[in-house]
Symmetry: C2
Subunit: 338 residues, 2 copies
């Protein structure tokens, strides 16, 4: 089947770009040094490709991602790099531990999250340290006490994690590097007091700068998006949303059926090659070609999302395509929800 | 069950506000004068409430919404207010017509959409006229010719539709009214040449200004959002996303598990009463209380989305709650996808 025969909007993954991205990252962060972040693609089939490339440990953002990965036989070393309080959801993780389906580690950043993890029967934790992003992670000075509380609750403290998310979108590489040095100094100091073998952090935006961690948490590099593309990283855009031109106006614009229900908009409008995107509405993108004639009703168009992770989460299928547009494989997006 | 016992993030619908919104709109646009737009809520259970209030005809944006409504027994008069070219999807609508499950009308704005509708066995169309929003809708001067083409293809032309979407967000009421007068003059002129009983248009933002149409296409008023709330309409915010506080930083911020995968971001950040929202990331919202102490880890918080339609589309359930937070009913969001 050709991509142009798919019902639209349809998520496409360029097989060559995906393979290039995987190979580039795996060369720099081989085997267990890379802990791919499942939240970027939410697909156990895609995760299996990464596992086959030697990356057996994964990062998740939701309990649903954790249980889905375990059910797919990808539970060798799963990290919930997020704070979850829900006893029923944490109990699902406790059951994975109890029945040996998965090795489960969760992030903790407060006494409450320590108690919740211990109560659920989880064994392993990382102390999540705030390294500058105003989000989760304990104050660095609290990290040793939190580690003590975790150990007193019977938990194994595998180490620390710290996510420098405030630096991922800094366009200037030198500024990104300078901010990273500060953030990783904070993390290293916390690690020195907390102990454990693991220092987990980083992401696609700092993949080649962050060398002080023991494992990199990156996911977006697999599929890439126009926001990360601005940084000049060596990863190629692999994810697009295929649309059908449903209306053309001779005043100079065209409309395709790829709207904001099919695209993440938190990083702004998507892009279309050789065109200026005017705006998106629920089911439509309106754009104008820059150098070419207007398309015709029924033509196909590829729309490049500004942010991969929440775009994938709006769809049920990823279609792997070759350079000619033939569909090589279909990967279910089977880890949606919470 | 109380809302605070729901796994989060969870969509809540305030029953009082929803009832008020329904009653207010139904008084101004009774019975068939209102054609509620299903795209705003994507739930046949919610649609059934509107049907019980006398609104038997509905507007849809996708074929999935059309077939789901028909399967739920709500197919008395379904309008696909959107251009669709996909032969397989249109054939689903043709089957609804053939077996009498639904009365199906589709919008057409080009010769291609006329041919596609006729080929699929659809009988009824509206000529979609562009009234100022750079999106779908034919050039007004083309409307009579398109109607002729449709009739020549054996289609019944029920009238015209024109969506003044470019005016929905105009804050100033007088400017909104002035723009509307221009847009509806265009639509009326097209209608005079096209013929048919139906002049369909409007939305929540022009609900009380647009009196020249025979039926109003409005959906957002049912649940409302902070974007429409700015206009000072008499509809109340009914939809929120309940979250759990998963992290608190004594430097002055808190984090809940309501991120941009649970919220539409195309109209900007959500709101939290008594707080300043700093930013959203995939699974989190970071905010600071303005006048109150920081919450505690495990507390619940209600997050008000800026745009209802795509927020609902990210969830599987709507939870109807009373003023005390008790869950009165659970409505599946059963019309997602395309």
């Amino acid at each position: 089947m050709h991509a142009h025969d798919l019902p639209t909007p349809a998520l496409l993954v360029d097989a060559d770009a995906f393979a290039h991205n995987m190979a580039t990252m795996s060369e720099a962060w081989p085997g267990p040094r890379l802990r791919p972040h499942v939240k970027a693609f939410k697909s156990t089939t895609l995760a299996r490709e990464l596992s086959a490339a030697g990356h057996a440990g994964f990062c998740c953002a939701t309990v649903r991602e954790m249980t889905g990965m375990a059910a797919a036989g990808l539970g060798a070393d799963l990290l919930l790099a997020n704070e979850v309080l829900d006893p029923a959801r944490l109990a699902q993780l406790g059951r994975l531990v109890a029945d040996g389906t998965a090795r489960v580690t969760v992030a903790v950043d407060s006494p409450e999250t320590v108690v919740a993890a211990a109560h659920a029967g989880i064994h392993d934790v990382l102390v999540d340290v705030n390294v500058g992003l105003p989000r989760c992670g304990c104050d660095p000075v609290d990290a040793p006490r939190l580690a003590d509380q975790a150990r007193a609750a019977g938990l194994e403290v595998r180490g620390v994690m710290g996510y420098e998310g405030h630096l991922m979108g800094v366009d200037d590489r030198d500024r990104r590097a300078a901010g990273l040095a500060v953030a990783m100094e904070v993390l290293a100091a916390a690690h020195a007091e907390v102990g454990g073998a693991v220092v987990s952090g980083g992401g696609t935006g700092t993949w080649d700068l962050n060398r002080s961690i023991t494992e990199l948490q990156a996911g977006s590099y697999t599929l890439m998006d126009t926001a990360y593309d601005r940084l000049g990283l060596p990863f190629r855009r692999a994810l697009s949303v295929l649309g059908t031109v449903v209306s053309v106006n001779r005043a100079g614009w065209a409309v395709a059926d790829v709207g904001l229900k099919a695209l993440a908009m938190d990083h702004g409008d998507p892009s279309i090659d050789g065109a200026t995107v005017w705006f998106c509405s629920d089911e439509h993108v309106t754009w104008a070609p820059t150098d070419t004639p207007l398309p015709r009703v029924g033509d196909k168009v590829r729309v490049w999302p500004a942010h991969v992770d929440p775009t994938v989460a709006k769809h049920e299928l990823l279609h792997l395509i070759d350079a000619g547009g033939d569909v090589l494989d279909v990967w279910p997006v089977d880890l949606r929800g919470w």
